[in-house]
């Protein structure tokens, strides 16, 4: 599942407050979208884009 950027990559800083971070912890516990904060945020965001975004 974990995608990696294939071409020139750019680092984006994303902030979550402690209440929003609960989501990251839950998804980490699920294991489906990665094991680190970075993997979870990246892969969930890409899923969001695949599902059509807004």
């Amino acid at each position: 599942m974990a995608d990696s950027p294939s071409d020139a990559a750019q680092i984006i800083e994303v902030t979550f407050n402690q209440q929003q971070y609960v989501i990251i912890e839950k998804l980490k516990a699920e294991g489906q979208f990665g094991r680190t904060d970075e993997e979870i945020v990246r892969n969930i965001f890409l899923e969001f884009l695949r599902q059509g975004g807004v």
């Binding site: 071409d7 990559a9 902030t15 979550f16 998804l27 904060d37 965001f45 807004v54």
Partner: protein, 310 residues
Amino acid sequence: MLQYGPLKADVVLQPVSGKALPVLRGEVLRIIQEEGEQCVDFNAFNLHDYKEYLGVSNTRSRNAFRVKKGDIIWSVSSRDRPMFLILEIAETCRTDLLGGRCRASLFDRRGYGLHTNCQDTLSAAIGEYDLTPDDVHDSLNFWMNTEWDSVGRYFTLKNTGRKGDYVDLLATIDTLSVAATCGSGDVGWTSNFSLKPIRVQVFGASDETVARVKEIDRQNTGFKGQRTPDEFKVNKIKANRELRRNPSYVPEFVNYPITNKSIEVLLSTDELAKTNQLVTAGLGNDAGEVIRIGVILWYMRNREPGRRYW
């Protein structure tokens, strides 16, 4: 339809009056149109703790601007528990969670002098249990055909209630339930320019109603914030009316202070371009904000239980 227990109470409320009746957990309150076209204001309290009462705004935010069959009626947000389940409701019963209740000054201002009104009717009814006019709360209104428009104007249309129509409310806690014939309806469409009686009945609990209550408990209780007074930092009911500052009081705000954690995310050129398109579309002010919002929206759509509007 569930099998109810035996009839325990049967009261006709002549215009304009109200009655406070205990309706215990598992029992069913039935409100009936005796003649039709009569608006009914409804208040309810936890029978063992009057500070927990029917939360109109909580019920509205959890359901919709109107409640319908199958919806739960909730107590105030400080307790946040189911109080009733709407078991049955006539098709012609428009419900209203916006109008609050009518009060005397509205009519005096219109030139009617002292006129019947729900604030005073409900006050008179709950006085039987030593509750005061200040304890009357915004009503859940049955057979109140109100509408609103795109700029927020709120108005009343013709009452659609028919003789024999009824609403059945299953109590999920022990309640003091208060129905009142709305006193505004003789000078407006609320009750089509005349005041009529309503009938209120209470049916005892049955195995089926108790089983339904337990199912509601299982699905809707046990969440954070569904507190009892034992859990309140300040839990004594004030015995005097004057407000005075407590200099030793230290508030405990939830999750205070709010802190942030930064996570670095690697995006390809193509992924960043798609992200920036969402910035342009207004989803967020920059790529980092769009990613955060996207992650939370994904969670809301894919993981939050019971979420209906995303």
